[in-house]
Symmetry: C2
Subunit: 272 residues, 2 copies
C-alpha cells in the first residue's frame, strides 16, 4: 500500500481506537471464569502470592503452589482446601536457579508450549512500580523489576505476533506494599498498600484480562507526566510524594534486602 495512504489510514484508525478506548472506560467489563482451571502460583507461601492463591481457591481453580518455605506453602494449601479447591504444595526455590527475571522466564518456558498448543492460558508477571519508575538505593531491585516489565511486554507482543490470542498476559505493578519488604516505609499522597487490596486488584485484573495492572491507578498519570515533563520538574513531583524507607547504605548485606518475590501464574484448561 502507498505510504501516504497508510499514514492516513493510521490516523483514522487511531482516532477510532481512542474513541473506543474512551467508551470502554464506561462499558461494563466481562469477567472470565477460572473454575476448574489449573493455576500455578509461585511464591505462594506468604504475602501477595498466598492471598492470590486464596482468590483462585474461592473460585474453585485447581492450585499448584510453589514456594521455598515448606511450612508456609503447606499452610496455604491447607487453607485453599478449606475454601473448597484442590491444592498441591511443592517446595521449589526459583531464585536459586538464577536471578529473578530468569526464574520467571524459565517457569514460563516450562508451561508456555502446552498453553500454545491449545491457545489457552494466562501468564502473570509480578513486577512493581519500581519496574516503571525508580527509587534510589534499590538499584538491583529496580533493575530486576524493569527486566520483569520488559519480559511481560515482549512476551505479550510475541504471542500477538504468533496469533496466540487465547493466551493472555498481565503484569502487576503496585507501589510499596505493606509486607515488611522495606523497613518503615511511608509516602505522602499515595497510600501504603495492604496485601489484601493488591491481591484483589490483581485478581480483578486477571479476570478482565488487563495487560498492565498498576496499583493505585493514579500512578498511570504520574508515569505519563514523567515522559512529558523536563527532568527538573519530575524531581519536584517526586519530592511532593516524599517516599521514605530505611536503607542500610554501605551495609554488606544490603543485597539481601532486595526481595525476590515474583509470581508467575499460568493456567491451562483442565481436561476433566
Amino acid at each position: 500500500m502507498n505510504l501516504l495512504l497508510e499514514v492516513l489510514w493510521l490516523l483514522v484508525t487511531t482516532i477510532y481506537f481512542c474513541l473506543e478506548a474512551f467508551v470502554k472506560l464506561f462499558a461494563p467489563v466481562k469477567r472470565k471464569s477460572v473454575r476448574g482451571e489449573t493455576v500455578l502460583v509461585t511464591g505462594a507461601g506468604h504475602g501477595i502470592g498466598r492471598l492470590t492463591a486464596y482468590e483462585f481457591a474461592k473460585r474453585q481453580s485447581k492450585l499448584v503452589l510453589w514456594d521455598i518455605n515448606k511450612h508456609g506453602i503447606e499452610e496455604t494449601a491447607e487453607e485453599c482446601r478449606k475454601l473448597g479447591a484442590e491444592a498441591y504444595a511443592f517446595v521449589v526455590d526459583c531464585s536459586k536457579r538464577e536471578k529473578i527475571y530468569s526464574a520467571a522466564e524459565k517457569t514460563t518456558k516450562e508451561f508456555l508450549p502446552a498453553m500454545m498448543s491449545i491457545n489457552h492460558g494466562h501468564i502473570v508477571t509480578v513486577a512493581s512500580a519500581c519496574g516503571l519508575s525508580t527509587l534510589p538505593f534499590l538499584v538491583s531491585y529496580c533493575s530486576s523489576k524493569f527486566a520483569a516489565v520488559g519480559f511481560h511486554k515482549t512476551l505479550t507482543q510475541e504471542l500477538a505476533a504468533l496469533g496466540k490470542d487465547g493466551i493472555k498476559t498481565s503484569c502487576l505493578c503496585p507501589v510499596i506494599v505493606n509486607t515488611g519488604f522495606v523497613k518503615n516505609p511511608s509516602q505522602r499522597l499515595l497510600p501504603l498498600l495492604e496485601p489484601e487490596h493488591v491481591a484483589n486488584t490483581l485478581m480483578e485484573g486477571i479476570l478482565t484480562n488487563q495487560k498492565m495492572i498498576i496499583v493505585p491507578p493514579i500512578l498511570n498519570v504520574l508515569l505519563m507526566l514523567e515522559r512529558l515533563l523536563p527532568e527538573r520538574a519530575i524531581a519536584g513531583v517526586s519530592r511532593l510524594f516524599e517516599v521514605k524507607f530505611d536503607v542500610a547504605v554501605g551495609c554488606k548485606d544490603k543485597g539481601k534486602q532486595v526481595g525476590t518475590l515474583s509470581i508467575v501464574i499460568s493456567y491451562t484448561k483442565s481436561n476433566s
Copy 2:
C-alpha cells in the same frame, strides 16, 4: 510546608522548568574535555565499543580496554596508540560472571567508590531501543535491556540523592545497528544505524552530559505516543515501521543470538 502551597509552588516551578527546557533546545551546548581522563571501555574489541574507544583516543584520554576477544582488543589498543593515546588492553569476560546487567552492575561497583570519593566521573550504560520498547522474538534481549535502563535510571537517582553531582550518567538506546547482531534486519521510516554514527552520537552525548541518548531522536516521540495512545493504535503505529529480521523460532541455540554487548565507560580525573 502546607501541602496546598507546595502543590502551587510545584505548578509554578514546573512551568518555569518547561520554559527552561524549551530555551535550552536552542542554546549552544558546552562540551566537556576528556583529555587525560582514564576511560574504561568494556566490549572494546569490536563494533560500537571499539569505535567509542577511538573517539576517546582522538581526545587524548587514557584508555583501559576490556574484551573477551584477545585479538580484537589488541587491535583496538594499537589503533588508539596510533591516534596518540595511552591504551592498555585486557582480556576480560564480563558475561561469564553473570547475566549482562549484573556485569554492568559489578563493573560499576568496582569503580564507583573511587569516583564518589572525588565526586567526579561518568558512567555510561549501553542499552538499546529494546530497553524502552519491545520486539517480539527477543524476550531475553529485551528483558536484559529493560534491566540496563532501570539500572541507569536508579543509579542516576541515587547519585542525585547522595548529592554526587560531579558523577554523570548516560544511557545509550539506539534502534537496530548494522553490526550483524540480527540477520537481514530491515525497517521502514527509521534508518538502519551504522556503528560509526552511533559511536559519534554516544560521544556527543557523553561530552554534553546527556542522560538518555536515544538514536534516532525521533524515537522519543514514538515512545511518548506509546504512553498516550490505546493499545490497538500502538499496534498500528508499530506495523507502519515494518521492523523485520530473521529469527530461528524453536531453535535450540536461539539464546546464543541474544547479544551481550554492554559497555560501561567510567572515567576519573587523572592525577598527572
